[in-house]
Amino acid sequence: MKCAACSREARDNTYCELHARAYERITETYDRWKRAMEISWKEYLSEIAKNPLTGEWAREVAEQLIKAEKEVDVENG
């Protein structure tokens, strides 16, 4: 199975090893953002996706997560 963010082989059914690490970083860092300000998961993802300091793999994962959430929203009407 392919990684959801690139064309590499997925390690754990979703991401390749490189993007899996970026995903871990995104989930870990969300707690620090929540302590810093009131922010929802969706807002957080869009903030880090547009931040120029965000690493390339982390941005790719954030963009993929935003896209996936949008698809879920469409499915749920």
């Binding site: 690490r21 995104i26 620090r32 880090i48 931040n51 982390a58």
Partner: protein
């Protein structure tokens, strides 16, 4: 060139050193330059005739016993002339022939190559193989500068024999590096070739693997980095009519609500000086340069890569301007005649007053560092003035070395720090100042190594201060910094892998193999993939500990605490299972590396995004009809976009990953050998080009009218 009377034959590492030694040893200071088959050598007259013949660096190298360039594993090797093992080294054949002829009529042999690992092997191999086993009867010249005085002293106080332990350690290092390099690089290249049928120049080595690991670890941290917001609060205050910025006591405020409550607490409030703390301290002189610190300083001040600094320093050494640069020492032993060096520097206008000041001191004692090197002292100037006009880079490095040498004999600087604690309605802010009370060594290093001066006005505890405004800054944490050539070199030194002579070259190899790019080192996908393959299939090859242990064992050979055969046998035992593992997984490794190499080749051709279709990428393409290169959109092949631009037909194209300020299209750099590189916007209708054309036309019209 044949002479009846027997002569002394001196072997040097480089032609420049041969000339200097001949000139220094000739009693009439008129050494004669000879040439045979294009090989220069010098004749000096002393008690008897002395012939000084140079090498061209290494004339011998390690090569496999049997033929076959793709075969691995290979564990049988021998030392051979370089022309046997390397393409394009035919000149070495003539060179060795001339040395052999000159050796025939010699009765005394002296190795005068640089006194270090590499120099010792160069001299040893020539004496053993080209001169016919003269290594055991040869004497050794040991010197750290190419000045006449030191060379004469070194000739009259010859060491009775070569340093065989050092030679053995050096040979072992070359043999082990060959075993690692040839086997692993051949394995990687072969599996890729077997998988795709195309050749890709892939390599790794004993030191290259662990360094790539450092870089990849940092690359992963950077690419997975997620910034976190924080806030910084500053208060702009007025003291004696001047504005200053005081920092809030907490450098980082982690919560937005906390930051805003501090801000509102300070709003429109006045401040009071709570306390003033001053501290006087000594800032000690710098220590003398070893190669690593010189490379670091040159990168910091002038942006020179470690390799460039090393080669400039080598040129200055061959010009007898500085001592031997490939040293780890930060010590200047008392055997160096400091006063003589200072007296010489006193004759050079720009150093006159500083040298005179030091000469007036009753005692000259250098401020030394911890690092030592048994072969050479720290880098120091000889005091000789340049015999030719130095280019700006050479001049910078020479000036840096001279000023550092002067500074180590001067006095510590005395500085004073001041910390003013300011209270704004219960919130604490700091104002930090710094000033120099006694300049000491700082004067000697000027214009380098300047110190920051933040002068604060006279102020008293309890004094009321007006707050102009309080500023809240939104900030984000930064990703870890990427390595640059200097910081990577420091890392290699700290982890004790590689040698002072090889570190800069290994960094260059990573660039040459396209594993990394840019000054702020970015690991390419090819570099990431190579490391991933090594991590999975041969983790020992990238183990820093294993490499360091091996370095220690090789050092022990030079101290006669370890046997060369044992170290090599253990390396072979380490490599055997690794190479078998690669063979077993050839298909998987081959596919991964083929894809990565293919992607790397494609990436090299990508110039930037297409601004017309917005989905394609602009690539360097070649016309089937004319063979000329041009820029085209990747969507052309899908029939979507026909964007194309012409390209200069000569020179290497380097994508700059930057958009043109005028039109937004990607920019490239054209590098042509021997010419200055130039930056170009690929858009042929870019306004910048129109302006340039107009300027040229105007100029030519003006010229015509005059």
């Amino acid at each position: 060139m044949a002479s009846v009377e027997k002569h002394t034959l001196i072997i040097t590492e480089k032609p420049d050193a041969a000339q200097r030694i001949a000139l220094a040893l000739d009693l009439n200071q008129g050494a004669k330059r000879n040439q045979h088959d294009g090989v220069p050598y010098y004749t000096a007259k002393r008690d008897k005739e002395i012939l000084v013949v140079p090498a061209l660096g290494h004339l011998y190298t390690v090569a496999g016993e049997s033929c076959g360039r793709d075969r691995y594993p290979v564990f049988d090797y021998k030392w051979v002339p370089r022309y046997v093992a390397e393409r394009g080294a035919d000149r070495i054949r003539t060179w060795l022939k001339v040395i052999t002829e000159l050796a025939k009529d010699a009765d005394t042999f002296i190795d005068a190559c640089d006194y270090d690992l590499e120099g010792s092997i160069i001299g040893y191999c020539i004496l053993k193989y080209a001169c016919g086993n003269k290594e055991k009867v040869s004497k050794r010249m040991k010197y750290s500068t190419l000045t006449k005085e030191e060379l004469e002293k070194s000739y009259t106080e010859l060491l009775p024999h070569l340093d065989f332990a050092l030679i053995e350690a050096g040979q072992t290092r070359h043999e082990i590096d060959w075993l690692y390099g040839i086997n692993l690089s051949r394995a990687l290249t072969a599996v890729t070739k077997n998988s795709s049928g195309t050749y890709a120049n892939l390599s790794t080595g004993r030191v290259q693997g662990p360094i790539l690991k450092f870089l990849v670890e940092r690359e992963r941290s950077v690419r997975s980095f997620v910034p976190v917001p924080y806030w910084r609060i500053r208060a702009q205050i007025e003291i004696c009519g001047r504005l200053f910025e005081a920092q809030y006591e907490k450098q980082v405020v982690e919560s937005n609500s906390e930051a805003r409550s501090i801000l509102s607490a300070c709003k429109e409030k006045n401040a009071q000086v709570k306390s003033i703390e001053t501290r006087q301290f000594r800032q000690p002189q710098p220590v003398p340069f070893d190669l690593g610190t010189l490379q670091n300083e040159a990168y910091k001040l002038f942006g020179y890569t470690p390799r460039r600094t090393s080669s400039i320093a080598q040129r200055l050494y061959l010009d007898a301007l500085i001592s031997y640069p490939r040293t780890s020492s930060q010590k200047l032993p008392s055997t160096i005649d400091y006063k003589a060096v200072l007296r010489n520097l006193n004759k050079i206008q720009q150093y006159r007053s500083l040298a005179a000041e030091l000469l007036a001191k009753p005692e000259l004692k250098p401020h030394e560092g911890k690092k030592d090197d048994p072969a050479h002292p720290a880098i120091y100037p000889t005091g000789n003035p340049p015999e030719r006009i130095l280019d700006s880079a050479e001049s910078n490095i020479w000036n840096l070395v001279v000023r550092r040498f002067l500074a180590v004999f001067s006095e510590p600087a005395i500085r004073q720090s001041m910390k003013i604690q300011i209270d704004i309605d219960g919130q604490s802010f700091h104002l930090n100042g710094m000033r120099t009370l006694e300049e000491g060594w700082l004067r000697f290093c000027r214009p380098y190594g300047g110190s920051e001066e933040i002068l604060l006005p006279a102020i008293k505890e309890g004094q009321q201060i007006s707050v102009k405004k309080v500023i809240l800054e939104d900030r984000f944490t930064n990703p870890p910094p990427r390595y640059n050539p200097a910081s990577l070199l420091r890392k290699m030194e700290k982890t004790e892998i590689g040698t002072k002579a090889t570190r800069a070259d290994i960094i260059q190899t990573l660039y040459d193999r396209k594993y990394i790019r840019d000054d702020r080192m970015i690991v390419t996908d090819l570099g990431l993939e190579i490391l991933e393959v090594l991590r999975i299939h041969c983790p020992k090859v990238i183990s820093v500990k294993l490499t360091r242990d091996l370095e220690e064992r090789m050092d022990k050979i030079s101290q006669k605490d370890e046997k060369r055969e044992d170290v090599i046998a253990s390396v072979v035992e380490t490599l055997k299972p690794i190479l078998e593992g690669i063979k077993e997984n050839e298909k998987e490794i081959g596919e991964r590396l083929t894809n990565a190499a293919r992607k790397a080749r494609l990436d090299e051709r990508i110039i930037g995004p297409c601004l017309i279709c917005r989905t394609g990428r602009l690539l360097t393409l070649y016309s089937r009809k004319t063979g000329k290169r041009f820029v085209g959109c990747s969507n052309y092949f899908k029939g979507v976009c026909k964007t194309s631009f012409p390209l200069p037909q000569k020179g290497a194209i380097i994508p700059l990953n930057r958009s043109c300020r005028q039109c937004g299209w990607p920019t490239i750099q054209i590098r042509t050998k021997g010419r200055r590189s130039w930056i170009l916007c690929i858009n042929s209708k870019c306004p910048s080009k129109r302006e340039r054309r107009q300027r040229i036309e105007m100029r030519s019209m003006q010229q015509r009218s005059t």
